[in-house]
Symmetry: C2
Subunit: 663 residues, 2 copies
């Protein structure tokens, strides 16, 4: 593999982070419309700096906690867990036993580096401590690389350098993928090649090993490298990386991974990708793969591919997604369940699976422009994803149940600082650090705003377009969108009306109502003078939601939603035992509570409390036999947003609550 790959790395750091050019810079997934003849991005991501959060606001605060607390905590954990020392062992600059038992611990380092990179891309001060820490860690990564480009501390140290010996479970290509993503992020953020060159050398080795005519035929048990290779193609223009990603996708499903205990479905090896009409098996693997296939489509425009992905997506939504946007209902093999297999208490709903849905949704949104992907992105963002991190930014959930029973023995009891399998925390960090990249897109007509936060958004069509947004979203439903003077001219601003608001939203342009009934995006085209204000009024009253009868676990229950937020009832907010309460009425706004420094709106619902406290000796009785507990004393259930649970006492919690009128 000796194709010409002249460095496209900018010679100085200064061009990075300027934000408004479609050259270096940009976010985690940036289709290269100019390069691929058949490329199919309907919408395009903004370049770096295209969305600037603030002043203040919900997401500015979350992103700041990530930058100020999570990334520093992550750095400490990289040291404490030994994963940096593992790199020294691989480099031969330290001696001792390998730390940890999993073969993919290097990715903790790579994902943290990616997170710091995105942070540096938008940070006010690129000279903060994290920049220095990143350089230090990058030096360790570079030193651990073999002369031919190979890099994997576990294989080097634990497996005596025996490479590619366990494609089903060894995660070597998965690790390579995270290194590549970190390298691309670091270059996009800083313009430097220190990490990027390391990653690219490994990628070149992968092309030699696994590319067509290479020494090996195979693919990884854990998809991830596909998205990474496509992104490296986007960053370099080197077709070989795209071809290798395509090859991994083409080969998959041929059964090369064998039939390990969880079966071929576990790692998406039962059927060829193009015959896979519904996702099964390990949730994160399945979703990362579909994100990778979407990336392929975005670059190749392959006929039929986007229809296939739509079919997979529709199947996912039809019966394999929780109301929180979480996916993956099985603990045993971390797998997507069968349709409607959505238990609340045993929901697995890994934080990484939420991130994977967001990655896939984003690529589908670029490919199709359809609102469903932004709608679901929002649902996951505010619920399944956000609940994975404590409001303090340094405690995390791996598993995100929708119900915790009283006196549950399910561990761990509450969020943890780190995990022996710590895939989630640094995955959260990189997602949070790059989050603004997902908030808006542009096309030849103008700008599309998908997620609402106080922010300044700019793009060049090449004429400059943009908006300044003020809003108290997601707690308040008024979104004020102003056209700045610098963006005068004729173009279209498109504002997403979330699915839950579509029948009730109101929009005004400089006070005059605009008809939007049933629209998914309100599209306003004007020859803007600047200073115009569009007000989007989203109805944030609490809603009670019931599930399809096939979702057995929540039959007879309701979930409470308010705007994009799914609510839950925690024991700490109730006067009675949570498992004795049955909702009876409608929901209304309650008094706000302060949790983790945030003032948070609650929702109150009238309820009745079962009289007797004790469970019967045998929990089954004849239909019609006396149920004295059915109607008890009046009570009120107080609910808080699901993302804010487990920030106080850790106790019983329910997203789905029994309701007398839900059948």
């Amino acid at each position: 593999m000796t194709a010409d790959r002249g460095s496209m790395v900018p010679s100085t750091r200064q061009c990075a982070g300027t934000g408004l050019l479609d050259g270096p810079g940009g976010g985690p997934a940036r289709p290269v419309v100019a390069l691929g003849e058949r490329a199919r991005a309907v919408l395009r991501p903004l370049p770096a700096g295209g969305v600037r959060l603030g002043p203040a606001g919900f997401w500015a605060s979350r992103v700041a906690v990530n930058a100020e607390t999570s990334l520093a905590a992550g750095y400490e954990q990289l040291h404490a867990s030994g994963v940096l020392e593992n790199l020294r062992l691989a480099a031969g600059t330290a001696q001792g036993p390998y730390h940890g038992k999993l073969p993919f611990l290097d990715t903790d380092v790579f994902k943290w580096l990616e997170a710091v990179s995105w942070h540096l891309q938008t940070s006010a001060s690129a000279a903060d401590a994290l920049a220095g820490q990143a350089d230090e860690v990058i030096a360790l990564v570079a030193a651990a690389q073999d002369p031919d480009g190979y890099l994997n501390s576990y294989v080097t140290v634990v497996r005596d350098g025996e490479r590619w010996a366990d494609l089903p479970s060894g995660h070597e290509l998965y690790c390579a993928g995270h290194l590549i993503q970190a390298g691309v992020a670091h270059r996009r953020a800083t313009g430097l090649g220190t990490l990027f060159d390391v990653a690219r050398r490994f990628a070149d080795l992968l092309v030699d090993e696994f590319g067509e005519g290479g020494r090996r035929v195979g693919y990884c048990g854990h998809p991830e490298v596909e998205t990474a290779l496509v992104e490296l193609y986007r960053e370099t223009g080197e077709r070989a990386y795209l071809d290798l990603a395509a090859r991994f996708v083409d080969l998959r499903g041929s059964g090369l991974l064998g039939d390990r205990p969880f079966g071929r479905r576990y790692f998406q090896d039962l059927l060829p990708v193009r015959d896979t009409r519904a996702l099964h098996g390990h949730a994160v693997r399945a979703l990362y793969l579909s994100a990778g296939v979407a990336d392929l489509y975005l670059e190749t425009g392959e006929s039929g591919l986007v229809e296939l992905l739509r079919e997979q997506w529709d199947d996912l939504l039809r019966g394999k997604m929780y109301v929180t946007g979480g996916t993956g209902s099985r603990h045993r093999d971390e797998a997507l369940g069968d349709a409607f297999e959505l238990p609340s208490d045993r929901a697995y709903t890994e934080t990484c699976a939420a991130i994977a849905v967001m990655q896939w949704a984003w690529r589908m949104q670029l490919a199709t422009g359809d609102v469903t992907y932004a709608d679901v992105f929002e649902r996951v963002l505010y619920n399944g994803f956000l609940a994975g991190t404590a409001l303090d930014g340094e405690h995390f959930f791996y598993v995100n149940p929708l119900q915790v029973r009283p006196e549950s023995t399910l561990g761990p009891q509450g969020r943890q600082r780190w995990f022996s399998c710590a895939c989630c925390p640094p995955n959260v960090m990189r997602t949070m650090a790059s989050l603004t990249h997902y908030f808006a897109t542009y096309d030849a007509e103008g700008l599309q705003i998908h997620q609402y936060a106080p922010s300044s958004i700019r793009a060049e069509l090449p004429a400059r377009v943009g908006v300044d947004i003020q809003t108290g979203y997601p707690f308040d439903g008024l979104v004020r969108v102003e056209i700045p003077q610098e963006c005068a001219g004729e173009w279209t601003v498109s504002l997403r009306i979330p699915d839950w608001a579509r029948s009730e939203a109101r929009v005004r342009l400089d006070g005059a109502p605009i008809e939007v009934a049933g629209q998914d995006y309100v599209r306003v085209r004007r020859d803007w003078s600047g200073g115009e204000v569009i007000e989007l009024e989203l109805p944030l009253h609490p809603r009670l939601t019931v599930a399809d009868p096939r979702v057995d676990d929540v039959r007879g229950c309701v979930a409470i939603e308010r705007g994009p937020l799914v609510y839950c009832a925690e024991q700490v907010d109730q006067d009675s035992d949570l498992d004795r309460l049955t909702l009876r009425g409608t929901a209304s706004d309650g008094d706000p509570v302060e949790i983790g420094g945030l003032g948070i709106p609650t929702v109150a619902v009238a309820a009745s409390r079962a009289e007797s406290e004790a469970a019967p000796a045998w929990p089954y009785r004849r239909l019609g036999d006396g149920t004295p507990d059915a109607d008890g004393a009046s009570a009120t259930v107080t609910a808080i947003p699901y993302f804010a649970w487990a920030n106080r006492d850790y106790g019983a919690m329910r997203v789905w609550l029994p309701h007398g009128e839900a059948h």
Copy 2:
């Protein structure tokens, strides 16, 4: 360890199987009232041959299938799976790789030998092929034993003889326990010491290693050896075995097993046994341990122990047992769930856990005489246990869900001939072969009949007592109990009235009604002349059962029960898609069906069928929004006994069915 252990083995085979002496012979758990000063068996098991099934009848047919098909199939699988070859490898009489990856595969052999032993105890012809096969297998076992008594082919072959290196996961004492149980069964059945002496030599080594003052302090990650050692004490009178069982129980909970991935609860090592008021963790381990503790109580009468076990039992029944009697709701760690965590689709409910409940229930029944243990034994026997085996006797379930969703991807799809972890099939075989031991007990006053089958039951008090039973149970509710001439004299016959029949059962003695309202056992004491007939009439009409509201998974649903049988609806019997049906009415007897050669009563319930077939694009909607599917066309749901499911097409199945009146 050199205590005098002179052989108590009878010199000939002829005294075995005669049945009516409390000497050699007897079943799987036989408290030694005469030996332990403080022994506490309220009821005593009958000796071998005390219950003789037939002519014909439900259980005679099941036991015959076990003897004629299952045991032969098991012998074939012992060969095919390589576990017999493993013994040759350990003996040094064969070369090659070890077969299988699990460290407890020897127990497949031991459990099969135990099963054949119980079969030979009651078999009409002790000279059948199985006797010869057992002798052949016993020779392989004996040859694999080390000179000092140690026996474990996995350790010898795979671990290069490194013993006791992995008490948490190595299963060495678990394997020893099954060898001991097989040895005791073989001696009780045949009077021979060929297997018994092998087992006892290993047990003596265990006493040397793990007994007080021995070389090691520890206990097994998988309880089992406790029941086995107590039984060996019962068989030999040697106190050292009882002491060792007690020592394992005393030490447990001290954390010696460490904190493996599933945590200390997994193998009941979080708390000392005497502080364990509720069972948690791996279901089979927890239940085997409690059976062992019950055995200890039966021999020592230790103050407080039976109250502890009652508390554990009550907790199990209150929220950790399925309506089928199955236990263990978690796939991931094969664990009991939290209270009320009882999902139907993801029920694990391992067949071995059903067996473990039966073992524990039996010992509790002996210890207390309380009817709850016989009631639950019956529930497990006819449902959770019996469903684990196909009616053909050669296909098995490891996992026994209460619901299979349409197009489920959960494998395996239907019962299997054997498993890579084949604990269940030979466990079924040994239980079925010894089943009659659990049907009746005696005490100084007379005879107690706990389970009903056509049978002749005899015991000596020392005066001979007994009954002859005719019944079509469990399909028919009339149980005819005749006192034979040879059992004339004054004594009490006690007939269990099952919990579900307690308010409606009728009893007649020679046609004259006996008042039984609310009684758990109808106790009839007479100076019998012989020829008297007691008729027990149990109400077998179908019942609809609802669950406590805390059992979230089945809210709004009913289960159908008929006598001791829990029913289920299989797709193959329905005219409509099972997931579109909602029950609306009461249940009545339907037309019988033939399944697996049995004529089986069905139950029919009126239902409505949802009109639209397609699931919505998103399975959540606002409460009160139109639900056009709620009331559809009239339909009928046909249900069959749960034990008979998956004997025809393997498809959707539900034990719990939505019902319009169940809230």
